[in-house]
Amino acid sequence: MLAVFLLYTSIAGGGTPVVRPSQLANHHGRVSLMGQVVGTPSGDAHAGGKRFRLRDVKGAGTVTVVYKGSVPDLFKTGNDVVVDGRLRNGVFVAVPNTLVTKCPSKYAPKR
């Protein structure tokens, strides 16, 4: 059992790094990008691709993301999302259908 496990992990490597927009410059392979949607998203996720900016959840670094595929219900400006992909020429090109919204840590109701 252990052998199977070790064999798999040694071949498949150690998982996908989870990074913030400000850390992107140091990663050239596929990563999971986590950030907060800022500004107004534009474009069509089912045609040319949806474009939106992600900012560090706590911080200042931002990056533009181009994404194609299903967009989750909770995707909107101000929410945290995670999306897989890689940086190409300063734009984060997302893997289709990998966008997930991370629920706000607390479902923050208006008080």
């Binding site: 199977v4 996908t16 986590m34 299903s70 967009v71 219900d73 991370k102 840590s105 607390k106």
Partner: protein, 662 residues
């Protein structure tokens, strides 16, 4: 009223603390009166917890917004049903539910096993009290559901995604499962502490383990169905940490349910069994910790809070304490017999155990990987679906096969000739099914053909077992086929209940395989009048329909479905736009085909301003067997759980004899 709730929780905490300290002392010094008073304190803590629960439910029902908890999780316009289920919608309430269920289980377990070994029970009480003390401590000092504030005019409301009928049933089921695993843990520790390492603690807790395990299983299936019909991405399980949190203890408990049979029959695997029960309980605590600490990123939204370190500390305490205890009692846990052959019933149980535990541990590795990689390399990394799928295939497919082999292999040692005879029919059925599948074009997925061939093998061997047993019963005379069949089950509830559960797992495997390996997905942008096809069905988009509801606008894409020339009906996938929450929710439309067991799953992925729709259509063959499996699972678990007077008598005689000999 909040004062009453607080007082009830403090009372419960003090009683549990007394049951822990007094009970330990009583058991250690052998003082019967003290041990009995600890038992009574445990019963009293249940009563106090019930009072606290009633206070919170009352506050919810009255919309008493001077309770912070009520104000944070409900609002005036929330229907009464959801207002009450908000009891477990937040952290404090769900901790209270934990304590309520735990003290309820404690009372039931103590009352029903008073005639079990007194010395074991004397130690069971403080062990249960230890866990209870931890939760009541959190409720009194860290996360009180009775915090008050100046009453506000209206509450914040319940997260819309929790306003679903499943909210009433899914979390309580999971809690009944998680918490129920405390009972076998407490009895195992009690037996070790009392130095009674025979299998009596196993017999005493078999039903509790079985019940907890069944609740956990049902809870997960309900969650899967909730995700399937509501969340609208077309799946039912996403290897999300919170889902895994429930799956891991279930796998460990499944392993435990099997390996205890070897200890009962052959006196083997004693150390393994206590380790498994510690693992199952530890994983259930870990699951609660995961869902409540927000330490791992999950699609589930949970309050991030200060209770994480408390939980981690408690898990470490429980693990270290029980492992030390097991180590100290190792000499008492030596097996009476050895494994005689690698081809025997016990050996197949052993393989099944190794596979189940390996699966649980690889999932655990995947869940904690982000934390570990962060700690080791400073860079968090996650493992994703391929990782989990790989191990599900590697360990799950052999498990499926073992379900067909195990029940047919003899105890102790099986001869090759006997094996050939036993497996002739199931093997023949499997080979025919495999050939038929390949001929029908199922070879597109190798793993699918393997899974289905094995499934047929298992179903055939289960059917064979039932047929043989019934024939043997009928040969005894006096009964017709139906009578022989029901008497067969009634006389061996455990065994045949187990086979029914096996059948449900096969159905589950068939459903999952159909929905994943043989799924067809098509996406297309359609203008009104345009059509697309998905696995033989033609979908024609007829345009949108929009309707205003009280709190949302419902947009529906009208889709006519044809198979060949036959009109199958109009389906309406769409979206709801909620005004107040400024939130969109996907409303899928599913066409169930009861004849083939498959689903046509329609998602209006994007509604475009030019009147077109991005339609996503999924054909999921046989997926409904997955939900059917749920019903079969409940049936099998009920058969195995049903009280059996004959078995009780047999056990009573056996242990009366053992006590005399000892």
């Amino acid at each position: 009223m909040a004062d009453l709730g607080r007082a009830a929780l403090v009372t419960s905490f003090l009683l549990l603390l007394y049951a822990l300290v007094g009970g330990s002392l009583g058991a250690w010094k052998g003082r019967r009166r003290l041990a009995e008073s600890a038992q009574n304190a445990l019963l009293g803590s249940f009563a106090a917890t019930v009072v606290a629960t009633a206070v919170l439910l009352g506050a919810l029902a009255r919309h008493d917004f001077s309770f912070q908890y009520v104000a944070d999780h409900t609002s005036r316009e929330l229907p009464l049903g959801y207002t009450l289920t908000a009891f477990w919608g937040g952290q404090e309430g769900s901790l209270l539910l934990w304590l309520l269920v735990l003290s309820g289980y404690s009372v039931a377990a103590v009352l029903t096993s008073r005639r079990v070994d007194r010395e074991v029970l004397a130690w069971v009480v403080p062990t249960l009290a230890l866990v209870g003390t931890f939760f009541s401590l959190l409720l009194v000092f860290v996360a009180s559901p009775f915090a008050t504030q100046a009453a506000v005019a209206d509450g914040a409301g319940l997260n819309p995604s929790l306003q679903n009928p499943y909210m009433a049933i899914h979390p309580p089921m999971l809690y009944l499962g998680y918490v129920g695993l405390t009972v076998p843990f407490a009895f195992a520790m009690g037996a070790l502490l009392a130095r009674r390492t025979d299998e009596r603690w196993i017999v005493a807790t078999r039903r509790w383990t079985l019940a907890a395990w069944a609740f956990l299983g049902i809870g997960q299936l309900l969650g899967a169905h909730w995700a399937y019909v509501e969340i609208g991405w077309g799946g039912f399980y996403a290897w999300d940490p919170v889902e895994n949190a429930a799956l891991m203890p279930w796998l460990a408990a499944t392993a435990f349910l099997h390996s205890v049979m070897i200890q009962e029959k052959r006196g083997m695997l004693k150390v393994w069994n206590v380790l498994l029960v510690v693992l199952a309980f530890g994983l259930s605590l870990f699951g609660t910790f995961l869902t409540r600490s927000g330490i791992i990123q999950s699609i589930h939204s949970f309050t991030q809070s200060s209770i994480g370190p408390w939980f981690l500390g408690f898990i470490c305490l429980i693990t270290a304490g029980s492992l030390t205890l097991i180590f100290a009692r190792l000499p008492l846990l030596r097996a009476k017999t050895r494994l005689e052959s690698l081809v025997s019933r016990e050996a197949t149980f052993l393989y099944n155990n190794l596979l189940l535990v390996a699966l649980a541990l690889t999932i655990l590795w995947g869940v904690v990987y982000p934390i570990l990689s962060q700690a080791v390399t400073g860079q968090a990394a996650t493992v994703s679906k391929p990782y989990y799928n790989f191990f599900l295939h590697t360990f799950g497919i052999p498990l499926l096969l073992l379900m067909g082999i195990g029940p047919l292999v003899a105890w102790r040692r099986a001869s090759l000739r006997a094996l050939g005879r036993t497996f002739l029919w199931p093997l023949a059925a499997a080979v025919i099914a495999g050939a038929a599948l390949l001929a029908a074009g199922a070879g597109s997925s190798r793993i699918g053909v393997i899974a289905y061939t094995f499934s047929v093998f298992v179903l055939a061997s289960i059917a064979l077992e039932f047929a043989r047993g019934t024939a043997a019963r009928k040969a005894l005379g006096g009964l017709g086929w139906a009578g022989a069949f029901s008497s067969l089950i009634a006389r061996n509830r455990r065994r045949y209940g187990g086979y029914v559960v096996h059948a449900s797992v096969v159905l589950l495997a068939i459903g999952i395989t159909g929905a994943s390996a043989y799924q067809t997905v098509r996406e297309s942008r359609l203008k009104p009048g345009q059509s697309m096809t998905v696995a033989g069905d033609r979908l024609i988009f007829r345009g949108f329909q929009s309707r205003m509801e009280s709190n949302h606008r419902a947009i529906r894409a009208l889709v006519d479905v044809y198979r060949g020339d036959k009109y199958l009906g109009r389906y309406r996938p769409g979206k709801n736009q909620y005004f107040a929450e400024d939130q969109v929710s996907n409303e899928v439309s599913i066409r169930h085909d009861l004849l083939t067991g498959g689903d046509l799953f329609l998602i209006a992925d994007q509604v475009n301003s030019d009147g077109s729709v991005d339609l996503k259509a999924l054909q999921k063959p046989l997926v409904n067997l997955l939900w059917l499996a749920g019903f079969v699972f409940v049936g099998g678990a009920l058969i195995a759980l049903w009280p059996d007077a004959r078995e009780e008598r047999r056990l009573a005689e056996r242990y009366a004899g053992a006590a005399v000999r000892a």
